[in-house]
Structure formats: C-alpha cells, structure tokens
C-alpha cells in the first residue's frame, strides 16, 4: 500500500529522530526553559531574519491556532477567515470554545482577498450599531491554504495593508509552511512572511517533526504573558526540550527546506502524471496536496494499491480526491501510483 492520505502518517524525519535519541539521556529543566529550546528559538529567529521577535514552541496546529487567537483577540472580537479555513471547519469549535466568532468571507481558490476584507470592515464601522456586533479583531490566513494554494507576496501585502489601516494583527497558519516555501511559484521566503505577518507559526508536525509548531512574532508585545496562557490552555510540554531539539534540527543545515522541496517535487511529478493522462484538476495546487477529479471506478480500483481521501461527498460518476506527499514519499511511490492510473 502507498499512502497519500495526509502528511502526518509517519514519524519524524530520520535526522530529527537521531537528535532526539542522541539527547534522550540528558537532564534539562522543564517547561521549555532549557538550552535546546533557547537554541531553537535563536535559530528560528535568525532564519526569519528577526532580531527582536519571539518564538514559542507548541505541540499541534489546532492548539497553536487556539492559543494565539485567544491571545490576539479582545473579548468580543472575531477573526476574519475564509469559509474553508481550518479553524472554521476542522478544529471542532476550538476558537469558539474560547469565546471568539469566526467571521467568514468567501474563499478565492482557498484564499482571502484584501478587497473583501476591506469592504467587510468598512461596512462594519458604517454606523454605531457595530458596538453590538462582533468586531473584526484580526485576520487569519494559511500558507499554503487548505486547497494547497499560496498567496503571492502582493496578495499578502495587500492584506497586511488593510490590517494596518484598522490596526489589527495578521496571523498566518503555516501548518504546511515547508511546502508553501518550496512551491515553484512561491515568491516569498520565510523572511518575507516573518516581516509581513504579525504572528505566524511554522509547522513541524506535517513537515518532518514528530510533533510541534513554532509560533513566531516580530511584535512580542502582541503576545504578553504568553507562557502563562499556554499553560492555562494545557499546552505546556513538561519536557519542552523535545520541541527545542526538533526545531533546532529542522532549521539546521537547511533540513526544513529540503523536506519541503522533496515533497513538492514528488507532488509535481504526481500532478504531471495525472495531467498527462487527462484527468482534470479540482484545483491547481503548487504544493504537496494535489487535487483531481477522478471517475468513481478509477477511485475504487486505485484504492487497492494506494490510500487517499475523497474531497467531499462521492459524486454520481466522478469525485474530487486529494493526494498528499511528504518527506517520506519516494519516487517509487509516485511511479507505482502513476502506473496504475
């Protein structure tokens, strides 16, 4: 069986695992106050080109989103996101459980448009009744999006510009950041993202770590007493150095970039194969998630050798499907798959 269900199906990249093994017997203080974590933070800040920022290491994406958004919003603020945003659809109401509404706008290939945001906020402030409504308090984007697409620098800067106009933070969910940075059409580096977004997180779980996400900000004043808030959310890892070790490794010797590039290379090869056979794209994704519309019989036969997800309800004759690659996907996996389509 070849696995294309998701990018969290295997453990850690071997280099990451090696470091965990090598440091296992060392004694360190807990709760992320150790040297490994301090090192990881320095390395990440440097990779982000930030001299004054801060970094916090958390365990998972839903958790990172929940804690960051809970910190950035005031009581009756909401977060602007697309209707397809992960926080809106697949986090079991984590954001609302902390008291915050998600203010959804239509997605354009999975992305928010600066114009939609601007119109929404301008309309909100139209008259005084806004005091009795949910204030748009921040903007949430993801990179790549749920549909594998990525913002261009221009698109993200336009959103940043609206955020600045209304003095609200721009937050980017980078659960699959490695694959966005490695996309052929990407025109932003990690440093660009770090300088445009107020807060963002660099995904580890889906990009080579056992688990872990690194929340980064160039404006630490936006996350006051964040260490306490993380604890309050039950998100403080006792052996915090596990996160430090993993992220230090991912951001040493270009490992994170390599992981991203490999998976995207595999994804492009996969896409080319499907396109060559004439299967229509469900959406044209430049990253490690690939979406096609397949005949149902083809889906059924492929499932004998490969696992992958239906993207929505099964249609009468055709159904959209998703294939996901990661650092562990091999050329042989792709070749075998393509030989069967």
């Amino acid at each position: 069986m070849i696995y294309f269900d998701s990018d969290y199906m295997v453990g850690a990249h071997p280099t990451v695992l090696e470091r965990l093994v090598a440091t296992n017997a060392l004694h360190t203080v807990g709760y992320g106050r150790d040297q490994f974590t301090a090192d990881a933070k320095s390395i990440i800040l440097e990779a982000c080109g930030l001299s004054h920022g801060d970094v916090f290491l958390l365990e998972g994406g839903t958790q990172a989103n929940a804690v960051v958004i809970d910190r950035l919003l005031d009581h009756n603020d909401g977060v602007i996101a697309t209707d397809t945003a992960h926080i809106n659809v697949h986090e079991a109401g984590a954001i609302e459980s902390n008291g915050h509404k998600i203010l959804t706008l239509p997605n354009h290939d999975g992305k928010l448009s600066a114009e939609d945001i601007k119109n929404y906020i301008a309309d909100f402030y139209r008259d005084d009744t806004h005091h009795y409504m949910v204030r748009p308090g921040m903007v949430y984007v993801s990179y790549p999006t749920e549909l594998g697409t990525i913002y261009s620098r221009k698109e993200l800067e336009e959103i940043q510009s609206v955020c600045r106009e209304y003095d609200i933070p721009l937050y980017l969910d980078g659960a699959r950041m490695a694959y966005g940075l490695a996309a052929p059409e990407a025109d932003m580096s990690l440093k660009d993202i770090a300088s445009i977004c107020d807060v963002f997180y660099i995904g580890g779980t889906k990009c080579g770590a056992l688990f872990g996400e690194a929340v980064v900000t160039r404006r630490p004043e936006l996350l006051p007493r964040f260490v306490s808030l993380i604890k309050l959310h039950g998100a403080t890892l006792a052996k915090g150095r596990l996160l430090g070790v993993q992220f230090a490794t991912l951001f040493t010797n270009g490992l994170y970039e390599k992981i991203g590039k490999h998976a995207v290379d595999m994804a492009m090869k996969l896409k080319d194969g499907f396109k060559a056979k004439g299967y229509p794209l469900y959406i044209d994704s430049p990253t490690n998630q690939q979406f096609f519309i397949l005949p149902n019989e083809k889906i059924d036969s492929l499932r004998a050798i490969a696992s992958f997800e239906l993207w929505g309800p099964r249609g009468n004759s055709h159904t959209p499907v998703r294939f996901v690659t990661d650092w562990a996907t091999t050329e042989t996996d792709i070749d075998t798959l393509l030989a069967n389509i």
Copy 2:
C-alpha cells in the same frame, strides 16, 4: 551535577525510545485511530482489570485534568479538591478557564478526607440557597499527592462512598501513578484504583514516557463524545500513534512497575540516608518525592553538586526542600549525594 529537581528532566525510558525508533517509518492513520493506539488501549484496560472501560491518550497532565474535568462537570458545578491540589495551585487557572470553580478543602498530609467532603456537601444542600451557589459536582484526588503521600484503600473507598451517596464522580490524577503503586505502604493495585475511581489517568510523562497520559474509565458513559472534546481543547495529537506506542511499551513486560519500583527504591535509600544523618522530614513520603528540612548552609553547599527545589520560601535558618527520583536516577547518584550531606 546530579538532578533531583523533578521527574521530567530526561527523555523516555530506553525501552520506550527504542519502540518509537523501531516504528518511526511506518505509515498509520492519524488522530489515534491507528493500531498501536488500539493495542495500547487493550493492554491498559487489561492491566486495569476492566472489560468494559475506555482509554484516551493525551499529552500532558494539566491538559488531561482540564479536559476530563470539563467533561465531568455541568455548567455551574465545581470540583472538590485539597487546597494543595495541582489543579488548584499549579495549572495557571486551567480549570477555571473552562468555567469551573475549585472547591477547596483542607489537606491532611496532602489528602482529602471523606468526612470533610461529606460535611461540605451536606452543608451545601442544607437549604434552597444552594441553587445560587456552585454545586459540588465531582471529587479530585491525586495518587500520589503533591506531597508524595498516598491514600490507603480504606481512605479512597470512604471517599468513593461519599461520591456514590451524592452521585458524583471520583476522579484520580495519577501523574506519578507508577511511584504510588510502588510505594512500600501501598495497599492498592492498579486494578483496585480502576475499580474504585470513576475516571483516572495513568501518568506517562513523569513515569518513563517522552510525554503522555492515559485517561481510563470503567464508565465510558461519563465521557460522551470525548474524542470531540479533546480536539476542541487542542489536545488531539495528529500522530496519535506516538502515544499508543509509548503506552503499549510501558504496559508490556511490567516496564511501568519496574520504573516505579526503581525510583521508589532510590527514594527510600535517599530518605534513609538523610534520616541517618538526623535531618528531619518535612513530610514522610513513601514515594519518589522526598521532603526534608535542611539548614540553609547545607542547601547552599549541596547545590554545588546537586539540583533540587526549595519547597516554599527560604526560611531564616532552615528551609524545606524536595528531592525527586525517577527511572534514570542511579545508585551512584544517591551515594554521591549522601556522601555530601
């Protein structure tokens, strides 16, 4: 330097780490729906002597407490606990952040007394004004307690009896369960605890795992839709099998018991050494945490070779201190320490 600060200073027990390494490259489905997790649940249920129960694997103790208590309590219910309880003192308000009051009763060597609980609840229901007060909705105990002490079977059964009288669940926090079970004076097995408590968790983080806690219940109807609640709390691990692999290993070939026994053996040796030198106990703990009252000069000199915590503010001449052992503590560590006291 020898480390006695806490029991989360090193990584995983080598046997646990080995299994993580051995299974790292395998593909599994996510979110704890994998076979490793299923196996761990079966093994744990068997170790607990439960045929009908359920098990949920979470990442940390504060998280486990928060999610379980959030599930067990109705809106304006509170949880009865000692004033020294971990949830009351060291979890940054996690329980309250989910809307629940902690109803504190005085501790007796770190423990609740059944009589105090009974009196408190009886007084609560004395008249109709209780509708405007916080209802005692469950009881929280820990095993061992924050002070290393353990409940006798009789003590725990008396508490269970009060809980049954008022039809509220008894929940046990077993962050250091291994060390409680291994205490020389312990008169309860894991099966006893599983049959007396409605819900409890078996600590992994402090007992040989990289991280992880196993929530166990013999009454699954008390935790409806718990999988969704875990996700809502940001506590779902994408690569859930990491927890499954670890717990399956801990509960195979008696590893969990061995870890507990070793640490407690080391702790007893340590206690005997301090007692032999005439240092008074701060409290007489039968588990892996040992508390003494030391002269301040002795504290200062010892710190050159060993790290450990002050247990409260530094006194004028003497201060209580805590030494914690774990699976990684060696006889040499203890000998070296004792040679210097």
Copy 3:
C-alpha cells in the same frame, strides 16, 4: 416627531404599568420564588396549552438566547441559524462567548428551510471526520424573523421533523411573538408554536412590557438546573416578581393579543399607504416591521417629521428603510406619516 425606529422606544403598556404600581409596596421573596411569578407561569402554560411544561422569566432577548442555547448545547455543539439571525449578527458574539459556534445557512426571506438543514446535517455525518468538526446540536428560528416574515405551520413542522430525525431541539426566538401571532397570514397560534418547538421564548420587551422574556418549554428535562444557570449568567432578577407581574398582566384578558393586533393593524395601514404611492417593498412583511425602498431625497425629507432606520448602507439613489410599529403607534402617527410620503 413620530417614532418608527423600533418597538422598544416607550415604556410599558399602561395596563402593565398599572399593575406594577399597584403591587409596588408588597413584600415578596426574591429571585422569582414569589406568587406573582408562580401565577405568571401558570397563566403562560395555560395560554400555551401545556400541562407539563416549565417557564422561566428573563430580562432580555440576547440574554434569553444566550442562556437557553448554553443549556441546550453540549461542549462542541453549534446552533444552526440563518446568516441574518439575530444571534449571528446583533448579539455581540454572546453565543460564541459561551463557547458555541453558529452554523449559518442561507436565509429564504429571513427563514431557514427544512431541506437546507437536512442536507447540512446529512453531509456532516457523511464520514468519521465529523468528530473533529462542530456538531449541529440544535436549530434556532425566530418568529417573526429579522425581516418581519413568519414561518407557516407547514414550514415549521418540516423543520421540527428534521430535528426529531436527528434528536436535536428546535428553539424559537419570539422577541416579537405578539406581532407574528397577529399577522394576517399567520396559520399558527401560541399553542401550535408551543407544541412544535422544544423551547421558545415569548417576547415581552418589544411587546408591551418594560422588559422581560418568558422562556417556555414543553420538555423541562431539556433545561436541567436552569435556575442555577440563569444565576451563573448574571440573569437572575433579585425582584423577580417584576417579571411575574408583567407577564401575568400581558396574558390576562387577551392583552398580549390586543397589543399584537393593534401594531400589525397599524403596520398594514402603513404598508398600504406606501404601496398606494408606488414605493416598492424591500420585502413583503406581514408583521409590525415594514421595509420599503425609498429614494434618498424622500428619506431625507421624511426625517424632518419621523425617525426610522436605514436597512443597510445608503445607496446611490435609493435605500431600503424600516418602519416599526408597536402598541403605542397611533392612527394619527400613520396618517401624518403617509401624508408626507
């Protein structure tokens, strides 16, 4: 100046006020345990044709919605409502502040359709990923809606039928109930509504009371310990009898019906007048809110003699507006207004 801004611009209906004055000096116990409140509950239950139900008197509509929905939903449940629903737009995030997502469906003239609800829920349960999504836990409708429209009995029964299929409660917000019941096209009585909905509230604030809403249920088991939850929400009125006196008066001698009928009569007269002059309706409402599309110059000139709300942003040449009548609107008010359009 004639006032058509809203239906909460004057105090209480004179008959209600009289009773408050007449009972002012009496001593009663607090918190709604008095005889006036008991009487009001009996009278309301009888008016609703319920022999086994329960009634709770609260102070305002946002409060009633928040407390009821908080009670009806489990932790990660959401409430299905239209995008235009009051809870979704004009309650400052009260529902989310209690941890619950509003699951919006498109409105059809302000109303939910049973088919949309059914499709949404069926799709939700399509596969196992729903465990990580917000479960649709109840349905919220309002009667009349924000646009003044009302459900037919058939429409509401179809929604009830979907709710029963999935065993979730149907809740009706009756802030303007009096005007819905009095609509010429209404084919449901209060008893019908009480038998179709699981929980609903009868609006007092906008229908003749100083303030107050009566939450009614034919299934008291859906609102366990509701008295405590009301207190927890800060919604318990110390002098609870104020609500009892008002509701008992509203439901004695048909006052509530009279109030509704008068306001709707005035609204119909108003609508006829605008229609006769050729102004297009923004929506055809059979209740006390009337919506027209007026030329901007007409809006500006009318404002010299009457106050009313723009319904959305001012257009280039024309803008939708809303006129609201209530028990205090006089025929002279309408005549004067119509003489100026």
Copy 4:
C-alpha cells in the same frame, strides 16, 4: 407579617416609581443612548466628584460583578477576595464561568486586610513558577461587606496602596452602598470611595430602585469597549432609559442618602432593642443588616410575626440570625418586632 429577610422584598421607592410612571409614554432611543441615561451619568459623576470618569448602568449585582471583573482581568488572572465574598459564595460560579479564579484570603469581620493581600502577592512573585499559577490581577472588596461591616478610610487606603504597588485595580461592590455611607461610624463619603477605588458600583436594587446598579470609574481606560462587553454578557437593557430614570431620581434631592439613613436608623433601633434584651451580637454591624445569636425557641416563636434568615445551619440550642431593614421598614415594624423578643 413583618419582613426582614432582605432588602429586595418591595418594589421601588415611591419617588423613583413616580418618575418611571411620568416618563413611561415618552419615546427614546434604546440601549442607554437616551437623554435620561446621559443625565443620570452626569448626576452620578458629580455626586462622585469625578470630572473625567465614566458610568455604566446595569441590571443586577451578580451581573455587574461578572462583567466588570471579566473586563479588568487578563486571561489567567484571578481576583483577590475574602472567603465570605459574595462573588465567592453566592453567585453560582459566575466569575469562574468567565474563566477567572477567585483567590480567597481569610476575612476579618468580613473584610480583607491590606497586609494579607501584600503578603499573598509578594509570595506569589517569589520565584519563576508564578508563570504557571493564577496571577492576582485585581482586588475585590464590598462596602458594606456580607456581614454588614464597613472599611474605614485608613483600611481602604492601605489596600489601595498595595494595589498601586502592584499596578492592579481595586474594585468595590457597593450593592448596599447607601447603607454603608449612612453608617454612624462611616468615615468615607461617596466622593472618597470614588477617589480611592479604580472601579466600583453603586447599588440600586437593594437601595430604592426596582433594579439597577451603576458602575463608576475614575479611570475609563480600564473599561475599554465596555458597551460591547455588556452586550456580549446579555446585560444590555433595550429600554436603557429605565435605569437612567431611576438613578437620576435616586441622586436628585439627596434621595439615595435619605434611603440609606432611614434604613440604618431603623437597624440601629433594632440592634439597640435586641441588645437591651441581652441577646448577643453575632457581629457588630453598623449598617442595615443586623446579626444576633438567638435561642432556637425564640426564633421559632418570632417567626409567627416576622420573616428573617438563619445565618448558617441551625445550632443545637442557639442559631445566628439576620434582620435586614430598607427604605420601606417602618418604626412600627421595629416596635412590633421588639415587643415580641
């Protein structure tokens, strides 16, 4: 029957009721944006000697406490209060339901001591573990306390001084403010309280209004976007002018002072009567709540003519009881009661 159960057993003071009747038919805008409310705010600020402050009118005490405390505290902050504080005992967990822990200190005749507060906070900041604990984020006092006692100016200033040292706000619950100000031993005026506390509320419900509490602050920057937060808590009264009318009346022509003085005069007469008969005081209260320890037979016989509360569980031979006076208590009531003791 004579009623001494509480101070919320009758309606509004006749002068307040008269104004409500006189203004009933007027049209005003809703939500507290009307002229009556604006006038009430000005009058209250003037009575408080504040030129820059702000005032918000709410419906009840538990609600006022919940909304204010929710605003003043950051996520994992707690509020310091006595163990006997209303928020700790009689508000059904309203504070915790908003996510905040109540940090209780022992009461001294119902009051907090500045020294206890100072020691608690100093100990909290002793070492770095405080990041994982609940931060003391404000201080809550009540005036008078639950036991009818009042702070001296010196006591309150000492508490203020500790609050300033740690830069946390001092909040005063004045549910029975009128009776505290009127106490013979009171050495603070309303202006003093307004200048010492950061935020406080002036009780209306128990002091002559139908309902209502006025939150006052000399530091409006402490309550940003408070109008929205009030709405989010379901605490916005549609006909907000009802609160404006009442408070404007209470603070015109010294009515609030008169109400306080009358009730306290009656209470002193009542206390003198009991003392003259040799009944011991449970506590020596200078305000409208009086506490005695009575023989159980006396309690039983008195209940034939008067209603009052037991203050705790019934004792074997004697039980503490509470008698409460208000604006409606007459000299005849007191004479009749005393004739029977």
